[in-house]
């Protein structure tokens, strides 16, 4: 005891060191890998423009004065009916075809990378004409035409028609190419990253400034139909909405038919300004059947006919005074998909989608001089079809500029010249009242308008970048910021000159204004330069990995493994004086097979399939350990009862995991209502309802009895025992009350129902906290007369019983069963261990305590329970419902804590806190006093082994994420897995550190 006490700090120190190194490693790796962006809660307002150097109204009147106008009265702005830019479009129809694939790349894989570098410059004459624009654009360049190419012929025809106001663009999305992130990116004009700091969990509603918000604020009525993701993002923005559930991937038609039902009638109505119709069929058809399938072709043909009808209706109403006189139609994909129908990553197939834009009012013929004609080729009918390049980043600001609303605050896009030029009204001269400065040529007028829009655009982007770098958690590199600021101030000086020169009373000769050298053209170029470098900077900060940081983080992790091993070795040496020899090497098989199993589990993370099937794989390994443990008993010709029970238990866990995985495959953000739905469906079946309601409560009683037995076993500190009794039993009663109040089994008065629903859980949390404080206090009680093992048993029992009610109530009805499984699994692990120990009492105990097998079984059991309780390693695998047990209102700290306890409760907190039982149950039986004195050494060793297992798997996860960072599923699968493992590791380390402080 004296030795253990003296070396107390030397036993605890390794845990602290490991915790710190792991935190450092994960911090560094996360900074390099998980790109984070801070969401700013600032919004753009109409009146903001007065702070800009380029007011849309003032300069025409104040032609000799280029300084910003002092204060423009809002009334005047209102009278002018303009806000930031002059509205060029009255109504807007946006049709989103989810996962609309644009190009087919296998022919030119090498050109791909260089193409991406050139994306910034639309007029680079790069050989992209060979690229196959398969759904929308003709694909005559390739010999074998696939049946699913060129399916939206109606759009091609419109774009190819002579003098048309329609155009097809290749739209480049930014990864991650998942619908939710893309919609967010499209509407905010930013680059949503994997983790947007400030995101409220559970509700993915966009808190940043965005297009829809601006539309609503500026009196535009928005009509939405289709994918209900929009409603999750914008819960109360739409005037009217017809959402359809998007989570059933196998359902190709519900959303689409719903949209079709509402789309055409709505086109005849006047009660909207912006119509958004989101079709999902192609995405789902891709996910289920792949691109090359009959269902896909069917869907595309359906879209073609729908689009044809839409265009016909719009055209028929586009006459002067018609409903759609000045309507703008946009048909776009939110992201592409691979031929297998996957998306999420950053490959060209996924990021390339298309956008079709058409103005119902034709712009002047000189529009062709603005439109970029470098990517033209003949379509199937031999007409010339030109395809522009458009970046989705520019979408929000371009639409805002067309509609004349403030640009979203966080947008870093540029008003796209080609789409801006398609609208007829951007060709009108400004300041109709002041004819003296109106340039006579259309093109000059357009350039002036566009330069003005870009001026506002640049000012808004600069404002955002400045605020962002001032306030965000992780800022942008300073030298890049300086470069960008320099570009901006250059452009701005130019602007002052341009404005003052072009509004000299005499005017400038038109030909100068028309030519490339016109001051407005220079201005446009200067602003474009600035906006491009901002976009580049933003992309490097928000979409590119930082390789060196990731490498350093990974190295730290590997170093920590070495430290872990060294610490275990040091303990071995410390144990040595008390044991004559370590027979670990003698027990070669016993050491190698568990290590091999951990290695298999860790290596399995290198494949996405194994990550998906992680629960099954962990269970497979758990069962394998169980089968290996059968061997000693069988070879002694005894019936291995405990081991067989353990196997049966692992079979039960296995079925639980399989049920969980079937949920996962149909998962969506809707899932947290899924379990409720199950109960609702089963309400018809009364027997089943009774069972699902009563069974957990019965199990709860069983658990309470078990705890009672355990607590009764406490040999000392009677007062603590009574408090534990009381706390545990009362919280179990409250849990039962809570569940009873949720079920409709028996009529309960409103009061009881309310108490049960909200009051009971809070009391349970409070009791849990009280017990926790009590157990921490009881640590300081006089323990000189108590054997260390007995003290440890009492302490860990107190800790476990203080945590278990909270974890139980958060887990819901499955909780008692899961905890029961954990307790009995742990019991069987220990029991077979103990028997093995009894016969080896003559052998040195040191080696058998260090035997990693039970620790590994413990760890596998914990992993299995994580999956058994319906979690999995993605963010929709979080059980959001658990965060609201006992609370109706959202509070990020409180609900976050509850969610964390739910997620890590049964898989991290309970197993780690109950690790001491591995030691105590074993040592209690031994009469060996030396071993008794060594309790803490053993405990430290078991903790170290447990930590090492977690650290090893996490290291492999990190290596795998590093290798797979360009993988298709990186955002869908590997990154969430990394986040869960990293947090799990830190939780494990912290818990082990605290537990070691607590027990020593």
């Amino acid at each position: 005891m004296a030795t253990a006490g003296g070396s107390k700090w030397s036993l605890i120190r390794p845990f602290l060191v490991i915790l710190l190194i792991h935190s450092l490693a994960i911090y560094l790796f996360t900074r390099g890998f998980l790109l984070t962006r801070t969401e700013l809660a600032s919004y753009s307002h109409c009146s903001d423009l007065t702070h800009s150097p380029c007011s849309s109204i003032s300069y025409s009147r104040r032609r000799s004065n280029s300084t910003p106008p002092p204060d423009e009265s809002p009334d005047e702005l209102h009278q002018d009916r303009r806000c930031w830019t002059k509205p060029a479009v009255d109504r807007l129809v946006i049709i989103v075809l989810d996962a609309l694939r644009q190009s087919f790349l296998s022919a030119l894989p090498r050109l791909l990378s260089s193409f991406h570098k050139q994306i910034g410059r639309p007029n680079s004459d790069f050989l992209i004409c060979f690229r196959l624009f398969d759904f929308v654009a003709p694909s005559t360049f390739f010999k074998d035409k696939k049946p699913w190419m060129d399916k939206l012929r109606v759009l091609q025809k419109l774009a190819a028609a002579e003098g048309s106001s329609a155009r097809i663009f290749k739209a480049i999305a930014d990864p991650p190419t998942t619908s939710l992130q893309r919609l967010k990116g499209l509407t905010t004009g930013g680059l949503p990253t994997f983790i947007d700091v400030g995101n409220s969990f559970g509700a993915p509603a966009i808190v940043e400034d965005n297009l829809i918000h601006q539309l609503v604020r500026n009196g535009k009525r928005v009509l939405m139909m289709g994918d209900d993701t929009w409603l999750q993002l914008f819960p109360d923005h739409f005037n009217t909405s017809y959402p359809y559930p998007s989570f059933n991937v196998k359902d190709l038609d519900t959303v689409d038919n719903g949209v079709i039902e509402h789309l055409l009638p709505s086109l005849y109505k006047e009660d909207w300004d912006v119509l958004i119709a989101h079709f999902l069929g192609v995405d789902h058809a891709g996910h289920i059947f792949g691109v090359d399938s009959a269902q896909m072709i069917q869907k595309l043909e359906q879209y073609n006919s729908i689009l044809e009808e839409v265009v016909n209706v719009l055209k028929s109403q586009s006459g002067a005074g018609g409903l759609h006189e000045n309507t703008f139609l946009i048909v776009m994909g939110d992201h592409g998909q691979t031929t297998n129908g996957d998306h999420g990553g950053g490959t060209a197939e996924e990021v390339e989608t298309s956008l079709f834009a058409m103005s119902l009012q034709s712009p002047p013929a000189s529009v062709s001089s603005v439109l970029d004609s470098s990517f033209c080729h003949a379509d199937l009918d031999g007409r010339k079809l030109c395809i522009g390049i458009f970046e989705q980043l520019d979408f929000a600001v371009t639409i805002s500029a067309l509609l004349g609303i403030p640009f979203p605050f966080g947008s870093i896009g540029r008003v796209d010249p080609e789409i801006y030029a398609l609208s007829a009204h951007t060709w009108e001269g400004r300041g109709t009242g002041t004819n003296d400065c109106q340039p006579s040529s259309d093109l000059a007028a357009w350039k002036q308008n566009y330069a003005n829009a870009l001026c506002i655009n640049s000012w808004q982007v600069k404002r955002y970048i400045d605020l962002y770098s001032a306030t965000s958690v992780i800022g942008l590199p300073i030298e890049d910021l300086n470069h960008v600021s320099q570009l901006y101030s250059q452009a701005q000086t130019n602007w002052s000159d341009t404005v003052s020169s072009s509004y000299l009373p005499m005017g400038t000769p038109d030909r100068i204004q028309d030519s490339e050298e016109s001051p407005f053209q220079q201005q446009i170029d200067a602003y474009s330069d600035f906006l491009e470098s901002v976009a580049k900077l933003a992309r490097s900060a928000w979409t590119e990995f930082d390789g060196p940081l990731m490498g350093v983080g990974l190295s730290c992790m590997i170093v920590s493994l070495a430290i872990h091993l060294l610490a275990i070795r040091r303990l071995n040496i410390l144990c040595k004086p008390y044991q004559n020899a370590l027979s670990i090497l003698g027990n070669y098989f016993g050491l190698v097979s568990p290590l091999l199993l951990v290695a298999i589990r860790a290596a399995s993370f290198l494949s996405n399939s194994y990550i998906l099937a992680e629960g099954s794989v962990a269970n497979f390994l758990l069962a394998t350990t169980g089968i290996i443990r059968l061997h000693p008993s069988i070879s002694e010709w005894k019936l291995p009862t405990d081991e067989l029970f353990f196997l049966i238990l692992s079979t039960i866990i296995r079925f639980g995991i399989e049920i969980g995985m079937s949920k996962e495959s149909s998962a969506s953000t809707f899932l947290f209502t899924f379990s409720k739905n199950i109960f609702r469906i089963n309400e018809r079946d009364s027997l089943w309802t009774v069972l699902t309601d009563i069974f957990p409560i019965i199990l709860l009683v069983v658990l309470a009895i078990m705890f009672y037995k355990f607590i009764s076993g406490i040999c000392c500190w009677p007062h603590l025992r009574y408090i534990l009794y009381f706390g545990t039993v009362s919280s179990y009663v409250l849990i039962a009350l809570h569940w009873a109040s949720e079920s409709n089994l028996m009529p309960i008065s409103m009061f009881v129902q309310y108490t049960g629903r909200n009051f009971a859980p809070r009391v349970v949390y409070a009791i849990g906290f009280g017990l926790l404080v009590l157990s921490v206090l009881s640590r300081f009680m006089d323990s000189s007369r108590v054997k260390p093992t007995a003290r440890m048993t009492v302490l860990s029992l107190a800790l476990v019983s203080s945590w278990s009610p909270t974890i139980l109530i958060l887990l819901g009805r499955q909780g008692p069963f899961a905890v029961l499984i954990f307790i009995s699994g742990a019991w069987f692990i220990l029991k077979s261990r103990r028997e093995g120990c009894i016969e080896s009492t003559s052998r040195d105990l040191g080696a058998s305590v260090i035997d990693p097998m039970p620790v590994i079984q413990w760890s596998f059991l914990a992993v299995c329970l994580f999956f058994y309780t319906g979690h999995w390693c993605t963010f929709d695998g979080l059980r959001y419902g658990a965060a609201f047990v006992g609370f109706d209102h959202f509070n990020i700290m409180r609900q976050g804590l509850l969610l964390a306890i739910d997620t890590f409760g049964v898989s991290h907190i309970l197993p780690i806190l109950s690790i001491p039982f591995i030691i105590t149950l074993q040592l209690q039986n031994s009469k060996d006093n030396v071993a008794e004195g060594n309790t803490f050494l053993y405990l430290a060793q078991v903790f170290l082994i447990y930590g090492l297992i977690t650290a090893t798997t996490t290291t492999l996860t990190i290596i795998c994420v590093t290798i797979q960072r360009r993988h298709l599923m990186v955002w869908g699968l590997f990154a969430p897995k990394y986040v869960f493992d990293a947090i799990g590791l830190l939780v494990t380390d912290a818990l082990i550190f605290m537990a070691s402080l607590y027990y020593y």
């Binding site: 998906l612 099954s616 269970n619 394998t624 169980g626 089968i627 002694e636 296995r654």
Partner: protein
Amino acid sequence: MDSGEITASKAVGLHFLCVVGLAAGYGIARVGCDLSLVTDPARTLRLLLVVEGPVIIGIYGWVRRDRGHCSYWKAVSRGLLGLPIGALLNAFGAIVLGAPVGLKYWLSTIYWSSLMSLFTFVPAVCVFGTSRTDWQRILAYSKPKEGIDCVISLPAQGAVIGAWLGAWPMPLDWERPWQEWPICVTYGAIAGYSVGMFASAVFVQLLRRKVHVKDD
């Protein structure tokens, strides 16, 4: 010889016959009935079982222990009785490890576990019967002292480890038909069984040599 000791040539011949039995079963399935493991696992496994079963029970009955008390037919009937028991144990193991259960799979599971029983349980039952000491020695597997131990336990261990390893492609998303239960597991088991038989043939040779050296 009477104690059940097995000569090296006998062991090799015995394993050879087992391999021939398996190959014949698979050949009949492929050529005769136009079946393959991938297209129709249940019926192919059944055919393998029907062909290999008599071979294994017949051969191992022939090398039975304590011939004084146990006739050939007794050994054979022991083997026949052991087949379903071994199948039950194997099926339990498979289900514990994650073999799918359901109407679609239960026939395959039955035939697969019977085949595994032929590889693992039946030979031991045929040879040892219910002799406790022999079983304990085989299960503890401290060190093979006799050739017959190798002949029984090495192929059995090979089959189990092979089947365990054969499960690894199952979660992969390659969407190949052979990733279904129990096809790749059967391949793994057969491969492991063959390796085990090869190893056992080699070991029996080595053991014989050792014994000879000792005798000298």
